[in-house]
């Protein structure tokens, strides 16, 4: 599928109004002399993959009641609003539908697809972040006494790239898992530290994030998770769309309760 660029600068004259659709997310943008108004609504069906660029939205047409509206006041509204795709603001826990087992000494690549957030900003100021799909909250930690609040998703955890489905508002992360221990590695959930990943747009395959490598040394230690900016081959021309929200500690190497925590 050819890359469809829906992000970038939106130029609106005063009293200009436009409707944008990115997958399940609908956006209504309106510019007035002293305020920008943004309305958004998510479709309950996350598989909706429509993209509409700047469809004019007539003044007489009122927004439905379920559309959330936010108003941003300015001394003088700038004429350009920028739409930037970014990744989630919390780690994502992808639960596989069926548990995956990696035998000892083996290596595999798992592909997980996560929703893309849309950041709206003017000049250098960020106004709002909206997600195309709001995942459920989930808790990740050894006990309920401590841990981290994450997003939870069900994932098919594909191992074959050809089975991946493209979507304008989803990003694929390639996880290379290596089992150096003497026992098989079984997991049914993967915590993706998406706040440390960069988001790229590929010519042939939509959004793709930085890759992750998980090295499992032994069952006594937590696996080592490493972020790599190199993407898999065969994606065509790659364009970086947004930086990581936060840099990982100690230059890329992080210990994370990535694979097993039960």
């Amino acid at each position: 599928m050819k890359r469809e660029i829906w992000w970038g600068d939106v130029e609106l004259e005063l009293e200009g109004r436009e409707r944008w659709v990115v997958g399940p997310l609908e956006l209504w943008l309106a510019r007035y002399p002293l305020e920008w108004r943004v309305g958004y609504r998510r479709n309950e069906d996350p598989s909706v993959a429509e993209v509409i660029h700047g469809e004019p939205w007539p003044e007489e047409q009122r927004l439905d009641e379920d559309v959330e509206v936010q108003r941003f006041a300015f001394k003088e509204t700038p004429s350009t609003l920028t739409l930037t795709p970014i990744l989630a603001d919390r780690p994502l826990v992808a639960r596989t539908e069926t548990p995956l087992i990696l035998p000892s000494g083996e290596e595999m690549v798992v592909y997980v697809s996560t929703p893309v957030w849309v950041k709206l900003g003017v000049a250098a100021t960020d106004l709002l972040e909206v997600t195309s799909y709001r995942p459920s909250d989930t808790w990740f930690g050894p006990t309920t006494g401590g841990g981290e609040l994450c997003y939870g998703l069900r994932s098919r955890a594909r191992v074959e790239r050809s089975q991946l489905e493209e979507h304008p508002a989803r990003a694929v992360t390639a996880l290379t898992m290596r089992n150096h221990s003497s026992k098989p590695l079984a997991f049914d959930r993967l915590k993706l530290p998406v706040q440390h990943l960069e988001l790229h747009s590929t010519e042939d395959f939509g959004f793709w994030t930085s890759s992750l490598t998980v090295e499992h040394e032994s069952s006594e230690e937590a696996p080592l998770v490493k972020v790599e900016s190199r993407l898999p081959e065969g994606l065509g021309d790659v364009m970086r769309v947004s930086d990581a929200r936060a840099q990982p500690e100690r230059g890329g190497l992080r210990r994370a309760l990535g694979a097993l925590w039960r």
Binding site: V93, R95, R134, P135, S136, D137, T138, W139, F140, T144, G145, G146, G147, L149, G152, R189
Partner: protein, 287 residues
């Protein structure tokens, strides 16, 4: 004019008197100490605001202020010429006497120190003591002050807190909400489980993990009851508490699952034969 001059002369004479001058100086020292104490304690509080908790900041501010004030008081008394030795001696005896008379206060004071060291809660936490639930406003020498959710001010003696069970609702980041729900005996229990799990899945604030629990409670008088437990973060707990029962009711209605009213079955005797019932209609009565 003459009167004013006379009054002025009297005032000057008064302050020229040695004793009065000394006492005035003593008072000035005390005032100075009070002012310095305030400035230093506030300054310290501002400087350490980011490093200490609200409770510790308050203790530090009060501690520093009263220490400086005490020093000022002693300096002032010394300047006036009072023999501090006698004063301290008298204070010692007085303390013992007061101590015996106020055992509860002493107990509260010591309990307060234990609470500060042990820290079962901090200022800002929500705690439950007995039947009172509220937000901790301050941990003072003798008591802890709470503000209940309906905006009432409650003073709980420290002794009570050390002696009895305190529940800290803000300690852990996630909480479980338990909903007891009963379904009619005729219902398919697997279907009920499915409907309940779907309600949890559809609510984004309900955590995926820890997973929602459905615990069978019993074959009760009128219904089969389950405990439906879902987890949420502390902040989202009130919303989840309100949304989940509403969603459960809606889901049950949509799936035709009955939440029964209390039932009573009437028996005529040891063998259950139908009760004889006669229907009288208006039509018959008229005829």
């Amino acid at each position: 004019m003459e009167t004013l001059h006379m009054i002025w002369e009297v005032v000057v004479d008064f302050f020229s008197n040695d004793t009065v001058a000394t006492v005035a100086k003593g008072l000035l020292i005390l005032l100075g100490a009070w002012w310095v104490g305030r400035a230093v304690s506030k300054g310290l509080e501002g400087a350490l605001r980011k490093k200490l908790s609200a409770q510790h900041l308050m203790l530090l501010r009060r501690g520093v202020f009263y220490t400086i004030l005490m020093i000022g008081l002693f300096m002032s008394l010394q300047h006036i010429g009072l023999d501090l030795g006698v004063l301290l001696g008298a204070a010692g005896i007085l303390t013992v006497a007061i101590g015996f008379a106020s055992q509860t206060s002493a107990s509260n004071l010591i309990s307060g120190l234990f609470l500060i060291v042990e820290q079962p809660f901090v200022v800002g936490d929500t705690i439950r003591v007995g039947t009172t639930t509220g937000i901790v406003l301050s941990v003072d020498l003798l008591s802890v002050k709470l503000r209940t959710f309906d905006n009432l001010f409650v003073r709980v003696p420290n002794e009570t807190l050390v002696k009895s069970e305190i529940t800290n609702l803000s300690h852990f980041p996630v909480r479980r909400y338990d909903l007891i729900v009963g379904v009619a005996y005729k219902e398919d229990l697997k279907k009920v489980r499915g409907v309940l799990l779907k309600v949890a899945e559809e609510n984004n604030l309900v955590l995926d993990e820890p997973e929602p629990l459905i615990l069978f409670q019993g074959f009760m008088d009128s219904a089969i009851t389950f405990q439906f437990s879902v987890w949420a973060t502390r902040e989202n707990f009130p919303d989840v508490r309100n949304q989940v029962p509403v969603a459960v009711k809606a889901a049950f209605d949509a799936a035709n699952i009955e939440i029964p009213f209390p039932h009573r079955t009437l028996y005529t005797g040891s063998v259950t034969e139908p009760l004889p019932v006669a229907l009288i209609t208006q039509h018959q009565e008229a005829s």
